[in-house]
């Protein structure tokens, strides 16, 4: 079976984002989010590996009326697997974690990751108390997820998108995190100190 192109999958997933807030993890997820369309409501991480889902949790807690999507990769999710337990206990109804899973550490030479060797992140999320967690392998499934992703749920959700491990041209968002922070907060009506 041909695996999904991660750029197509990300664009399909966010096609109905509405006013959802999106945090992306370092490396390819940040490039994928930027390629899907730059937006003040995007916060791109360029480091702090392991943090994307948890930045999402903090944001979801602070903005309970908004859908929050944390877009990350298998490498980052594996580094911060404790986050699954923390989010599973916190039970935010407006947080979805989306793992673009190519089974490899794509930024560092395409070494096989743990998911490429059999570790199942969706099963781990369910075991941690997520309301929904499953693995998607086709673009049609991803398109069908776009609308429910922007709506409240019974609890935290995690979706693993199986994507191809292939080199893609970089699509680089701004690296100035102060700019990104102020732009993001301004979109929520929050001021600058």
């Amino acid at each position: 079976m041909v695996k999904m192109n991660r750029r197509e999958a990300t664009a399909a997933l966010l096609a109905a984002r509405g006013d959802a807030l999106v945090v992306s993890g370092l490396g390819s997820p940040s490039y994928d989010l930027h390629a899907a369309g730059d937006d003040a409501r995007n916060f791109y991480l360029w480091g702090a590996m392991g943090g994307a889902a948890l930045v999402g949790l903090g944001l979801a807690t602070a903005q309970p009326g908004r859908a929050v999507i944390a877009l990350t990769g298998d490498g980052e999710m594996l580094m911060g697997m404790g986050a699954l337990a923390t989010i599973g206990v916190a039970k935010p109804q407006n947080l979805s974690v989306v793992v673009l899973d190519n089974g490899h550490f794509g930024e560092t030479g395409m070494q096989a990751s743990h998911t490429g060797r059999g570790v199942d992140l969706a099963a781990a999320a369910l075991a941690c108390g997520f309301a929904e967690a499953r693995t998607l392998t086709g673009l049609e499934e991803v398109r069908a997820l776009a609308a429910p992703l922007a709506a409240p749920a019974a609890g935290p959700r995690l979706f693993v998108l199986r994507v191809a491990a292939e080199p893609l041209p970089r699509s680089l968002p701004a690296r100035d995190a102060v700019f990104l922070k102020n732009r993001f907060r301004a979109s929520l009506g929050l001021g600058v100190n």
Binding site: G58, A62, Q63, G82, A177, K181, L188, L190
Partner: protein, 172 residues
């Protein structure tokens, strides 16, 4: 025994409330137990228990992006777990307030606490976090209040270390 120590967590709680802190995350420590209980019981404060301290650094940055002031409670050993994640508040210049109870520096029975205890302030400062200390109960709230101003009003990354002498001997 009331040696004046018993009330300090309540004064710290009042300082955090005065600073409009609405979120707290923690890895427990006996020295933080009263404050954790107090904050968890407050309906205006959301709390998250963490599996490791660095999670709190990421959650606090997310909370600030969403307009909420967060504080992280941890023991000195947990500071070592935070190091790379401290890049996040450093780069975003987002407020960070960490309250750290010290082990390994006063009447400590467990030698395994010593290495990270010695490194706590050095590691924080190496990552750009300003360190304040409180070694007497009457100083705790003022240090927290000063740190909260530096964090939330001045976009600072600040840790307050509560000395083990303030906390008292651990009952063993």
């Amino acid at each position: 025994m009331d040696d004046g120590r018993a009330g300090w967590p309540e004064t710290v709680f009042a300082a955090l409330k005065a600073a409009d802190v609405r979120h707290m995350s923690y890895v427990p420590d006996a020295g933080h137990a009263a404050l954790i209980t107090r904050m968890s019981a407050d309906p205006e404060i959301a709390t998250h228990v963490l599996t490791t301290e660095e999670e709190g650094v990421a959650i606090a940055a997310g909370a600030w992006l969403g307009g909420v002031r967060s504080v992280i409670l941890m023991q000195s050993s947990g500071v070592g777990n935070c190091v790379n994640m401290l890049s996040l508040p450093a780069m975003t210049r987002a407020p960070l307030l960490m309250l750290v109870t010290m082990r390994g520096e006063w009447a400590e029975f467990n030698p395994w606490q010593a290495p990270m205890s010695r490194a706590t302030q050095t590691v924080l400062e190496a990552m750009g976090v300003r360190v304040l200390r409180a070694d007497a109960p009457e100083d705790a709230a003022e240090a927290v209040s000063a740190a909260a101003t530096m964090a939330y009003e001045a976009d600072g990354q600040v840790a307050v270390l509560f000395g083990q002498r303030l906390l008292g001997r651990k009952t063993w």
